[in-house]
Amino acid sequence: MNMDVELAAWRTDWLADQPADSALLRPDLRRLVGRKRRKMALALAGQLLYGVALLVFSAWFAAHRPTLEWILWAAVIWGATFFAAGFGVRNTAGTWKALSESNAAFLALSRERCLRELRAMRFGRWFLAVQSAIVAGWLSLDYALHRLPRGRYFFGFAVTILMAVAYLEFFAYRERRSLRDLQRLDQFDDNA
């Protein structure tokens, strides 16, 4: 048999198996999922540390000033911290690992993580509004009862407003990033 004809015949048989592109797992997608998981773990560790610091500090402060006002203040801090932690745990549940090692599972997980992050930002805004209202009410009550001079009252209000603005800006940034990630995932979907 002619060598080229023989090679061409083998090539025809060889190329007969054309695997679907979708069957190929994408390492870039896998990396994206892994990177996000590490970021989530870091964020969780940071939140835990922050939460524990808040709990310890408020408990220590209330123990050294055992008046009704400061015990109430510590109780509010503890309640809010546990409430936020509970939301955080519930919001990330089921988003730590893909259900299987496939492009579709990685995409579904990444999309779910973005949606959960958007939900967390909505929760954050609502929670911030409640906390700001409590702080504003507390400051105003102290001012009305003449326990707080005018200068410190306005200073406290200014700090509260500045912190709220900083948090809102942070939420907006995270929201933009999540929406951008969702768009990127749509592109993955088209190409996967």
Partner: protein, 174 residues
């Protein structure tokens, strides 16, 4: 600086996707010459794709993307083969698991001849196996020489011997 880095990453991703689109099926075929079981082939394919992704930043365009992809893949396969012991173990005791990606009709039509060819290629020594698979993927002898890091003369010798050995194996099969 960060914008530049993100641009680079975007370009790399685009290049990777282009390589995956163009040579993904060929790389999948290549794995069938090194592993019998579909699960093991999938694992090897993942190793290859990861190696390509990692090697992409150092790719300076001194050869074509095709040559680059096959070179990385063949190096990966070579390491894999040496790690497992030269030729892939024939799991004669285990039935060949049907690839779930193919329809039964397609399998009935073309898988028999292809499986026979692939089985014969698997029986070849690694250096012949590399040369013949690249030739079957339509790479020219100069391209094969670049991929394997040998001279064109050496490629010609390997191809000639690989063909003879392959022909002999195929003729002796029922």
């Amino acid at each position: 600086m960060q914008a530049m880095s993100s641009m680079d990453r975007g370009a790399l991703t685009a290049q990777y996707e282009r390589i995956l689109d163009a040579y993904g099926p060929a790389l999948t075929r290549l794995t069938s010459c090194y592993e019998w079981l579909p699960e093991a082939r999938e694992d090897l394919l993942q190793e290859i794709l990861l190696a390509i992704w990692k090697a992409l930043p150092s790719f300076r365009g001194d050869c074509s993307e095709k040559t680059f992809a096959f070179r990385v893949a063949h190096n990966r396969c070579l390491t894999h083969a040496w790690r497992r012991g030269q030729s892939p173990k024939r799991e004669d005791q285990l039935p060949e698991v049907a690839d779930p990606r193919k329809s039964p009709e397609t399998m009935a039509i073309d898988s028999r001849r292809r499986e026979s060819l692939v089985a014969a290629i698997r029986a070849l020594p690694v250096n012949y196996r590399q040369a013949i698979t690249l030739a079957l993927e339509d790479l020219t002898p100069p391209e094969i020489a670049i991929v394997l890091g040998v001279t064109e003369n050496n490629v010609a010798v390997r191809l000639n011997r690989a063909r003879k050995a392959l022909r002999k194996i195929l003729e002796n099969r029922p």
